[in-house]
């Protein structure tokens, strides 16, 4: 679950961080953030390909119901 929260927070970190960096820094920051998210999602995807289905649920509202996400 911590990894899922990290995945959601990465774009927000980018929004806060990138505007204050210089040209080279912007590119490096974008690359690092993309790499972090790619690694997190790859971990789940490889687990799934090897046969371990991963399901996690985030709380939603009374209209939408809970948000289920799943690697199957």
């Amino acid at each position: 679950m911590n990894l899922v929260i990290a995945f959601i927070l990465v774009p927000f970190a980018g929004m806060l961080l990138i505007p204050f960096l210089k040209v080279n820094g912007k590119g490096i920051a974008a690359f690092v953030l993309l790499a972090i998210n790619a690694l997190i999602s790859s971990y789940f995807a490889i687990q799934s390909l090897l046969g371990d289905a991963i399901v996690f649920t985030l709380p939603g509202s009374f209209i939408t119901g809970d948000f289920t996400a799943c690697f199957t």
Binding site: I8, P11, A30, G60, F67, A69, C70
Partner: protein, 579 residues
């Protein structure tokens, strides 16, 4: 041309949206709730629009971006109808509700439900006739974005179709035939238009449509296999489609990245102006060649493996006894073969004109190979292209898990594969190894033999003609002239010719502009009609403030009176029913 890193004002927004786009794309693939899915889908549309318009100083870029944004929202509209339909009947936004609801309604209704989802995802995937955003968005976007768009974003459309095939319970045979027909048209139309393009990125964009067609053929025969209970056909169809999805992401990204190298070095994408780049950019040329061979479906690279699996499925289908299946299998096989042949022709033209011969126009003095750091990711893609070609069985076995979702059992994939695909794929792998070793051996022998000879270079012998210019070379248009004549009824090529007069004629000009026939009929003509219709109301736009206030008042009155009118009509109908 300004280098991307020099456009400082655009870089911040671009970097942020690129990261958000990536997160949204991954989210779409795992979310199981239609409400959240639509939010992530919208995020992809908006962030893609922002990354496409990176160079928003150019009017063509803005137009391409807006075109994409509008079509992406048509996609959302269709998906929304499908999701709201299910949610209004079941009260749940969960994906499981789609399965339970579609199982409880008649097949015709579930087919209609699937069609809403299919059109929504087909717009994103670029199936004909929903492809018209692709040839504009890909060339307008920076090359790294084009690579992501062609390699990943359009695959999200394919993912969506596959996801809905798992969720919606409907008549898979009808769905399969529908997807097969649309895919064959997409594949053929995409490659037919790709051949006549002058812009390298536009050429690659049309090839994306062609490859989506090939993936669709795999999905189509997979669905027919599922619908008719032919599990070998289902396994081969879905396996071929999934592997080609991965393969296309690899070689098309590589093609767009190498096209980006060419643009960076030459500042143009017009292939009629290029030529001889292999001398200045040898590594880019080799990488482009690897990707071009792969996309043409030639061994020993990955494109061949996935197309081979689809062909195996089609041959398996040919043994089916029914006449309709037999005809469909024959036409599909012929169509796939024609697509492959035309793709090979197109890339022979593209590689030959861009990298071989000599430059047709003066190239910038800065035209040279890009730095290794920029080439490094392309080498990684090339390595995967080669690896899948050399070890196809390992990659196919990875597909057993996803394919089993479509055919219902985990072990069936291997039964089917043992029967047909895997037995044939293994010798293909060995043949690929032998081919590569043979090429390396010939190269080494040649190098050894030539090392003993002194090689001198000089101008090409012109048969005594001394006024030769690089423009005498074969152009891209002349290379495909016979093809253009042969397929003229299906192609729309605008020609502008200035006739040559006089004994000593002045300079003559001849331009050709390829147009998209589907775009003309589906978008340009309705827009023209709409413009002409709306033109009749131009008098309303008279610039007088009083009139605008009046329009506002009339609008408010209309909004207030419509419910009253509706209520009265409803009461009147109730009264008539009572009578």
């Amino acid at each position: 041309m300004k280098a991307y890193r020099q456009q400082r004002n655009n870089l911040t927004l671009h970097s942020i949206t690129f990261v958000v786009q990536h997160a949204a794309m991954i989210s779409v693939c795992v979310i199981q709730n239609s409400f959240a899915f639509l939010i992530a889908w919208e995020m992809i549309a908006l962030t893609s629009f922002l990354v496409i318009i990176f160079e928003h100083e150019h009017i063509a870029t803005i137009k391409a971006g807006i075109n994409y944004l509008i079509q992406a929202h048509f996609s959302i509209l269709f998906l929304m109808i499908g999701f709201i339909w299910v949610a209004s009947k079941t009260g749940s936004y969960d994906f499981e509700a789609i399965t339970s609801y579609s199982a409880s309604i008649p097949v015709s209704a579930s087919f209609m439900l699937f069609m809403f989802f299919f059109i929504g995802f087909a717009i994103k995937a670029g199936f004909v006739p929903f492809h018209t955003w692709l040839p504009y968005a890909h060339p307008a976007a920076p090359s790294h974005v084009s690579g992501i768009m062609s390699g990943v974003i359009i695959k999200i459309g394919i993912f969506g179709i596959l996801r809905m095939l798992l969720l919606v319970k409907t008549d898979f045979t009808s769905v399969g035939y529908l997807i097969l027909i649309v895919s064959l048209i997409s594949g053929l139309y995409g490659v037919m238009l790709a051949i006549i393009q002058h812009n390298l990125k536009k050429l690659l964009a049309y090839h994306s449509i062609e490859n989506i067609g090939i993936i669709g053929i795999g999905i189509g025969i997979g669905c027919i296999g599922t619908g008719t209970g032919n599990q070998v056909l289902a396994a081969l169809g879905f396996a071929g489609a999934l592997l080609h999805t991965l393969n296309h992401a690899l070689f098309k990204s590589l093609l767009f990245y190498t096209a980006g190298n060419v643009y960076q070095a030459t500042h143009t994408m017009d292939i009629e102006k290029l030529g001889g780049l292999i001398k200045r950019m040898p590594q880019t040329a080799v990488l482009f060649l690897i990707a071009a061979i792969a996309i043409s479906g030639i061994p020993p690279f990955n494109g061949f493996v996935s197309e081979f699996i689809i062909y195996t499925g089609l041959y398996n289908w040919l043994s089916d006894a029914s006449l309709l299946s037999l005809l469909a299998a024959i036409f599909s096989t012929m169509g796939l073969a024609l697509i492959g042949g035309l793709a090979m022709m197109c890339f022979t033209k593209a590689f030959g004109v861009v990298f071989l011969g000599t430059a047709r126009c003066e190239l910038p003095s800065s035209c040279k190979e890009v730095p290794f750091l920029q080439l490094f990711p392309m080498y990684i893609l090339a390595v995967f292209i080669v690896l899948i070609g050399l070890f196809p069985v390992s990659f196919i076995s990875l597909l057993s898990q996803p394919v089993s979702l479509f055919i219902g059992t985990g072990s069936l994939m291997f039964n089917a594969s043992q029967l047909n695909a895997l037995n044939a794929i293994q010798p293909v792998s060995w043949a690929s190894w032998i081919l590569i070793l043979l090429v390396i051996s010939i190269f080494l022998v040649r190098r050894f033999v030539m090392s003993r000879h002194k090689i001198s270079t000089g101008p090409t012998w012109g048969c005594g003609y001394v006024a030769s210019t690089p423009k005498i070379q074969y152009t891209a248009s002349s290379f495909v002239r016979t093809y253009s004549k042969l397929f003229a009824p299906f192609l729309l090529i605008g020609k502008h010719e200035e006739e040559i007069h006089g004994i000593i004629p002045s300079e003559g000009k001849y331009h050709t502009h390829p147009y998209d026939e589907v775009e003309k009929w589906l978008i340009d003509s309705p827009l023209k009609l709409n413009k002409s219709f709306m033109g009749r109301f131009l008098f309303l736009n008279n610039g007088k403030l009083q009139f605008y206030i009046l329009y506002g008042v009339l609008f408010i009155l209309a909004v207030l009176s419509i419910p009253l009118i509706y209520q009265n009509i409803y009461s009147f109908i109730g009264f008539l029913k009572q009578l």
